[in-house]
Each structure stands twice: as C-alpha cells, then as structure tokens.
C-alpha cells in the first residue's frame, strides 16, 4: 500500500512528453585517479556492481569483492577497512576528490557511507602518500557520484524488504540538458537487526535474538553541473547523511549505547579546459557531528585546492597543485584546530607506447610541522603484446605518511602533542596478463613489501590512556586476481576470483620483551579468498558469490585465534519487465545461504541467513 502511494507520487510529478531523443549523453568531467598511478593496483567497482550491494554497506562490498579485510563490530555497526595488513587509520577515503576521513579519528566508518549515495568506487592498493596524501598508507578508496549532460529526464524509485526488519527506500530524479545537469537522490534505510544468534556470553549458550542493534539512516545527495561554455565547467555535489544506531553490545555485556552520526559534505569544482590542459579549482566542506550517548564530538574541515594538469607532448604529462585544509575539532573533551598546506606534483613520461613512468612528489605541512616528504616512482611496461594478448609489468615504490589525528594530539587527558607522523616505505611488483577471444581473461599477480614506522598506539598510563609512536611493522604479501567472461548461446557468463596473502608483523614494540614481536598483527587474516560467477540470459540475471576470511588473532601477542569462515551469497533478478517507458527491475538475494555462524571480531554476533527483495521502477 505504501509502495503504491509512492508510485503515485512519482507519477504525479512526471512531466509528460519529453524531448530527450535529440540529446547526446556526455559524462560530467571527473579527473581519473589512475592517470599518474603507474605501477599501482587500482580496482574500479562500477555502478552495476554497486547496485547489487545497495541496501547492504560499503563495508560488505569491500569485504566481498576486494582483497580488503573489513573489521565489523556487528551487523550495521562500525566497519573499518584494513588494506594489506595496515590499520583503519591507514586508509585514505575520498568522496568526489575530497578527503573525508574524520580529522579527530583519522578514519571512516564504512557502515554510514551508504551505497545509495555513490555511483562508483575505485580502490587503490598500497602506499600512495605522494599521489593522494595523508593516510594513504595501506591504500585509498575513492567514492564518486556520476552525472551526465544531455540525458533528459530520469527518475526511479526502489523499495527493498528483507529479513530482520530491513526496509529501504530510494528515490531519484534528475534532469539534464547540454548545458545543465541536476540529479537528486533521497534515501531511507532501516533495520531492526534482531537476528538470531547463539549467545556465548549466557549460561547454556541459548539462541537469542539480537537486542539493541536497531539501525536507521536517511540522506540526500544532490549533484549539479553547468557547462558555462565550451571551456568552463562548474559542478557541485552535496551529501547529507544521518544515521541513528543502537550500538550492538558485545556478547556478555548489556550496554545500551546509542550513537547518532550526521555528516554534511559539499564540494564545488571549477574546470577550465585549455589546449591539452585542465585547470581545476576545488573547494569543499565536511562537517561530522557525532553524539555517542550524550557526549558530542563535532569536526569541520574546509578545503581549498587548485591544480593544473597539462599534456606537454605525447611523451610528457604533468600535474601540479596545492591544497589548503583547515580542520576544526569541537570534541567532548577538547577544542583544537589544525591547518594543513600541501604541495604536490606528478609527472608522467611515456618514452614509447609500451612504457609509462610516473614520478609523484608531495610535501605536507601541518600546524607548522613538516610531515615526511613523500616521493613515489612507478612504471607500467607492456612487456609483451601478442595478437590478442598483453603481458604488463607494473612496479612502484614510494613513501606514505599519517599525521597524528586531533584525538591523538589533543584528547584531554592523554593526548600527546609530541607525536611524530607515522611513516611508511613500500614497493611492489606485479604482472598482468589479458587475453581476448572466445573467453576474455585477465590474471594479475602482485607482490608487495611495506614497512610502517612510528605506528601510533594508545597505551594506559595508570588510569589514563595516551598515544605513543610505538610500533614498527613489516608487511608483505601476494595478491592474485583473475577474471573471465564468455558466452554460450544466449547466455553471458562472468567469473572472477581473488586471493590475498598478507603477513604483517611487529618488528618493534613497547620494549624488547614485547610478546607481539614477530607475530601477525591482531585482526589481520593471512588468507582471504573471493569469488563470484554470474550469468545473464535475456534479462534474467543471477550470481553466486563466496568469500573466505582466514584465522585472525584477537590480540597482538596472538594467544587466541578466531576461526576462519566462508560465506555464500546468491542473487537472481529480472531486468526486462517493462510497461511503456517504465522499467521494473526485480531482484532477490540470499545472504549467508548456509546460515554459517561466524564472528568477524571476538564476541560480536553476526547474522545468519537473510533474504532481501528489491523492486524498482525506472523511467
């Protein structure tokens, strides 16, 4: 009934008789993140991939479709990424080119970055301090909204229902001409999250329903773009998101914590397209307000940057820029301000069609302190090219850094203003083989090595916890990913698989007797596997996916190991249900088909089998 009402509402404001036919679609400009990322691994997750995960979270997407390990504190609870054995604070996160990690925490919660707010996610693996700046030690995540000119009027509504009280609603409407583009999205996601689990913290370990894990989030995304003339483009994006969560207690606890997170992000880009050059002015604002129980922590970041990207010749391309950031923190125990200025420069040299080399340099100064100077060097080399095969060698080396967060420096009591930035040094080498033909295939294998020094850890000093530059960590690993696509009759098939081996050990600790020395970092699985096969037949789609996460230890000295787990997900859909201009995509998913009992983190319950039904109407 409610759905019907929404449908009527949508129909209510549909303009009749549009003239969209004559327009040609042109995507609104966004700088490519991999233009100077030679020798580095970048995985782009397109909209179709993201749509499968709509209603779930960015954390689920990254865990199941990339080699990243996501530390999940329960269903819908805090989820933080760990790339290549580094910590959550070693991941830079961008939204439309703005760094959006919290300046007080130095990380982001993937659970409150709903898929509904983004159209593309690109994942860059490894150290990229020179290219992307602060916190890009383990890797970086680039979320983008995409819109286009010349596509006329578009609208859609989508409703999801699922297990454990899942009810999500998405509305979108947009209009674009050759000159102007607007797209508005509104969403609401909620779940009671009362999944059954075996409570190990209770006598008799009964199966109980999860209490106090209700989740709700609402948001609006607005994209606007103008072609001022053939050389000038202005675009802006605004994202407001508000999440209300009951914090799922650890088994054995009956905490009743409540958390509200409200984020407002806005970015304005001006592009001047010149003769083989692009000048970009960018300004933005990120405001995060968090209320945990009754304690309030707010931060605001203001950004202003400008850069110039120029193709000097066929062989030489360069980019140079400057960014200014003002971060203000108004936390429950302190107030602080940090201003950051960074200069960056990238050069790409392609002596032949087969080889591209890049050199990236960056220097950041925060509140008068120089962060480590970060250079990086990379190369892509087509070692061999056959008729329909290519073998590419990728290699890169570079430095990265992390400025101590506002909490690290100013939390009262305990904050340590004397902290040094964390510093990393890494190198990687990989081979990629692609083959086209009856079966299109690609295989890639990468070996990396990294060292992170001055790793910041909070340790108790009596009753007060205080951060120190304690650990030195050495990481190395191997990553494989393979893809294949082929056709049999009217069936289109796709399959992919990836495997990650990651060894991350402490080489320096609290003292020489630190039992963590030489041991794998806590909550860092050595082995991870992902795989999926999907089929498309005359509008019918289906997929079967699985992922495996290996054993991981609870603490740095490894006495307790959490068992590995493997989960399976299944989805089916039909895309060709049409009525006039309307399209009604339908889909159904089963997550954790085998109802596997697992915990990602110790004593944090996770849901068993769940169902999710999606119905959409697209115009």
């Amino acid at each position: 009934m409610i759905l019907l009402l929404w449908v009527c509402t949508i129909f209510g404001f549909l303009p009749v008789g549009q003239d969209t036919v004559s327009l040609t679609e042109v995507e609104v400009f966004a700088p490519a993140i991999d233009k100077f990322a030679q020798g580095q691994k970048v995985q782009v997750l397109e909209k179709t991939e993201l749509e499968i995960y709509r209603g779930r979270s960015l954390g689920d997407l990254l865990q199941e479709r990339t080699g990243i390990f996501v530390r999940q504190y329960g269903a819908g609870m805090l989820a933080s990424p760990s790339f290549r054995g580094t910590s959550a604070g070693h991941t830079a996160l961008f939204w439309n080119g703005l760094p959006i990690n919290s300046p007080s925490l130095g990380q982001s919660d993937l659970s409150i970055l709903p898929m509904a707010g983004i159209d593309q996610a690109a994942i860059q693996f490894g150290n990229a301090g020179a290219l992307f700046g602060n916190e890009a030690i383990g890797g970086s995540i680039h979320l983008e909204t995409k819109s286009e000119f010349g596509s006329g009027f578009q609208a859609g509504i989508s409703q999801q229902f699922g297990s454990f009280g899942l009810a999500n609603t998405y509305l979108s409407a947009g209009f674009s001409s050759k000159k102007f583009s607007t797209k508005t999205r509104v969403y609401r996601e909620s779940a009671t999250n009362d999944f059954p689990y075996q409570n190990l913290g209770q006598i008799g370990t009964p199966e109980v329903r999860q209490q106090h894990a209700r989740f709700e989030q609402n948001g609006i995304v607005q994209d606007l773009a103008w072609n001022l003339n053939s050389k000038n483009q202005l675009k802006t994006s605004i994202w407001w998101n508000k999440a209300n969560r009951e914090i799922q207690p650890v088994m054995g606890s009956n905490t009743r914590d409540q958390q509200e997170d409200q984020s407002f992000r806005a970015v304005v880009d001006y592009f001047l397209f010149g003769e083989k050059s692009i000048f970009n002015l960018k300004t933005g604002l990120v405001r995060d307000e968090q209320v945990f129980n009754q304690s309030q922590n707010n931060t605001t970041q203001y950004f202003a940057s400008g850069d110039w990207d120029k193709d000097f010749s066929f062989k030489w391309t360069g980019k140079a820029g400057v960014r200014f950031t003002l971060a203000k923190g108004d936390l429950s125990t302190y107030q602080a301000e940090d201003n950051r200025l960074e200069l960056y420069q990238s050069t790409r040299f392609s002596p032949s069609e087969k080889i591209s080399l890049s050199l990236n340099l960056r220097q950041l100064v925060y509140s008068g302190t120089f962060a480590p100077f970060t250079p990086s060097l990379g190369m892509d080399w087509k070692v061999w090219q056959g008729k329909n095969q290519t073998l590419k060698l990728k290699t890169s080396a570079g430095k990265g850094f992390k400025v101590p967060t506002l909490n690290d420096r100013f939390w009262n009591p305990g904050g340590n203003p004397e902290l040094l930035p964390e510093e990393s040094l890494s190198g990687e080498i990989g081979l990629n083989w692609t083959k086209t033909g009856k079966i299109n295939m690609s295989h890639g294998i990468t070996y990396y090595r990294m060292q992170v020094d001055n790793w910041i850890i909070w340790v108790p000093k009596g009753n007060i916890w205080s951060p120190e530059n304690i650990r030195k960590v050495s990481n190395q690993g191997i990553e494989y990913e393979g893809k294949a696509s082929w056709e049999t009759g009217n069936w289109q098939w796709k399959a992919d698989a990836s495997y990650t081996f990651s060894k991350a050990v402490s080489t320096e600790g609290i003292d020489e007797n630190d039992p963590a020395l030489g041991k794998q970092l806590p909550y860092t699985p050595k082995h991870q596997v992902n795989g999926r096969i999907s089929a498309d037949h005359r509008g019918f789609t289906g997929f079967l996916g699985t992922f495996f996460v290996g054993e991981r230890s609870v603490t740095a000295d490894n006495p307790r190991q959490m068992p590995g787990y493997q989960l399976w997900n299944l989805g089916v859909g039909y895309q060709n249900l049409k009525w006039g201009k309307l399209n009604f995509p339908l889909s159904f998913q089963i997550n954790n088909i085998l109802n596997t009992d697992y915990q990602v983190l110790y004593l944090r319950a996770m849901p068993g089998r769940s169902y999710q039904f999606n119905l959409s109407i697209h115009l």
């Binding site: 650890v250 606890s253 009754q294 009596g462 007060i464 039992p515 740095a556 490894n558 110790y602």
Partner: protein
C-alpha cells in the same frame, strides 16, 4: 507391563544413584581448583576477554582460561572481582553480569544475567546476594545512580530490589544481618540491613574507601587519598569508626594485599603523565617502618600475597596490547620468577 518394567528399572537406578551419592563428606575428592591460586584476568574493554587462570605455586603449573575450559564457552565479560562462599565462586563482570561456578571444579551453576549495569563486587547475606553496582553512566560519564542490587537465591536469578547508595560503591562486607558498603566517590561507609533491604547508616570518612579486610579479629576499611592513605577500624556492633590510622603514602591506587605479620602491601602509581608505579609496604599498628618503594616499576596492575609461601605477586597489564604477566617476589622485594598470564591480570585468590 512395559511401563512397569521401566518404572522398576528407574527405581533401581534411583536407589543405586542414591547409594552411590551417599558420601560421608570426608571422602569427597578435591576439585581441581580447591588448592593453589586463582588468578583474575580482567580482560580488555570492548573484547570481553576476562578469564581466570589457575596456578599451583609449588610446581609452577599454570592452567589458562579455566572458565572456558570447564564450561565450553568464553567468560564473555570484564572480570572485576571474585568472591568465594563455600562451594560457590562468584565471578563479577563489570560488563553487567555475575557468573556463579562451583569453587572446586569451575562448572557453571548459575548467573545474574540481567538488571545490572557495572557491577563491582558482591557479598552474601543469608540467602541473598548483594551486588555493588556503579549504575549507568550519565552524559558526562558520571554515575549518579549507583546502587546495591539484591538477588534472592545463592545461585543467581533476577535482580529484586536496588538500594540507592553513594556514588561508585566498591567492596562489600557481610556481618550479621548487615552488609557494609565502601562508597569510593563520596567517601562513605554505608550500612544496609539485609533483611529489610534498606540503608540504615551513612558515615563520611577520610579517603576513598575501596576495600574491607580482616586483620587478626579486627575489621578494617582501606581508604586512599591523593597524598596519604587511611585505615579505618570499624566497630562491628555499631559500625562507627573506633580508630583511624593515617600514613603519608601518596598515589595509592586502592589495590592492596595482606601480608604476614600485620604487613600490608599497597600498589601506588603517579599516574599520567609520569607514570611511575611502586609497591609500598606498611603495617598496622605502625610497628614496622613504612617502605614506600619496596618494588618500583611501570605498568603494575594487580597485587596479591601468598601467606603460605610468603610470596608477593605483582601483575603487569602490558598496556592491554595482549596478555600480561606476573612477577613473584619474596617479602624483601627480590624477584623470584615471572609468569605469563591472560589479558589485564588484576587480582588473586589464594586457596
């Protein structure tokens, strides 16, 4: 006919079991944990990995995680206190529950699972459990609604009455039909009538009371302040203070252990930022000289004393980054050995 056969088999079985169980008391085998030292590991915040280790001090044999081993489930809580009463051992988790196990074999026998917020300690009076609880945090992390929860039945169950007491109650002591409460934040000694479950008396005392202890036949209350410590002797008939002994020992943490010959060992810490820890030794009455820094170090977290062997146990939580350890000293502060323990080792029960 079948039913009758079954019935007779059951009857036979019942008689057999009754006879088998008819032990005379003295022949009962000792539980694995009835001797030796039980070591409390608090666990780390957010991980709920508190556990109990068992140590045979003579052989040095250490058994880790005995709750999980005996019950096939994790303790799943932050272990704040252990209280023994006869065949029952109460494991108080400040994450909101009390687990009750057999003191001999550690098999689970009950729990107080709901109705608690941040329990700290427990006392038994008659057939009732009294549990001190900080109560919930308010917006500024204060605990204005501290209480003593009453549970009817020694094997746990539901919380009945909650008796409002002064903020942050710690140790409890049961005497006659009364339960005494060490009120740490508002510096009080409070008396609860266990029968009527009402607060009958509040005394404001010097220092922040943390622990009751018996010395000889006398009941004392330990109450540290920032620059000195107080020992209050309690009149066990009217619960007034009969005497207060004051000593100039700064930075006492509230953790203490009773040694031999009237000696008391106190854990001190300068705290943040200098963070120098020490063990002080004192005696009541002031018959022996005060030693402010019998042992010096950093990261001290718990203290215990084995009166049989005259050995002092001082734990180190190792920054809660992983497991901690304990160093065993003789009475003059010489290191005897060091043992690795669980997460956040915080206290001992010498059996």
């Amino acid at each position: 006919m079948k039913i009758k056969l079954h019935q007779s088999i059951w009857a036979f079985a019942l008689i057999f079991i009754l006879f088998a169980c008819d032990d005379s008391g003295s022949e009962r085998p000792l539980g694995a944990y009835e001797t030796g030292i039980l070591i409390m590991n608090e666990g780390a915040f957010g991980s709920n990995d508190g556990e109990v280790y068992h140590l045979e001090p003579a052989s040095g044999f250490l058994k880790p995680n005995i709750f999980e081993m005996e019950n096939n489930r994790p303790f799943a809580g932050l272990l704040e206190d252990m209280v023994m009463e006869g065949e029952r051992l109460y494991l108080v988790a400040n994450t909101g529950k009390v687990e009750i196990v057999n003191s001999g074999d550690f098999k689970s026998r009950g729990a107080v699972a709901g109705g608690l917020d941040q329990p700290r300690s427990l006392a038994i009076n008659g057939n009732k459990l009294f549990i001190s609880d900080y109560g919930p945090y308010d917006g500024s992390y204060n605990t204005p609604d501290s209480y003593i929860a009453v549970v009817n039945g020694l094997d746990g169950g539901a919380v009945g009455k909650k008796i409002q007491v002064s903020n942050k109650p710690e140790d409890l002591y049961s005497i006659g039909k009364f339960v005494l409460v060490a009120g740490s934040e508002e510096k009080s000694l409070q008396v609860i009538d266990a029968e009527t479950e009402t607060l009958t008396k509040t005394l404001v005392v010097a220092g922040s009371p943390t622990q009751f202890f018996i010395l000889g036949t006398q009941l004392w209350l330990f109450a540290p302040a920032s620059d000195k410590v107080y020992f209050h002797r309690i009149n066990t008939s009217n619960f007034d203070l009969t005497e207060t002994v004051e000593m100039a020992i700064p930075d006492a943490t509230g953790k203490m252990a009773i040694g031999n010959n009237g000696k008391i060992y106190l854990l001190t810490s300068t705290g943040w930022p200098t963070y120098e820890d020490a063990v002080a030794s004192v005696s009541i009455p002031n018959s022996q000289p005060i030693v402010k820094e019998l042992i010096k170090g950093s990261g001290f977290y718990g203290i215990g004393f084995d009166q049989n062997r005259g050995e002092l146990y001082v734990t180190n939580a190792k920054g809660f980054q992983g497991n901690g350890n304990v160093t065993v000293y003789n009475e003059s502060g010489t290191v005897l050995k060091t043992l690795d323990l669980g997460r956040g080792p915080s206290g001992f029960m010498m059996r």
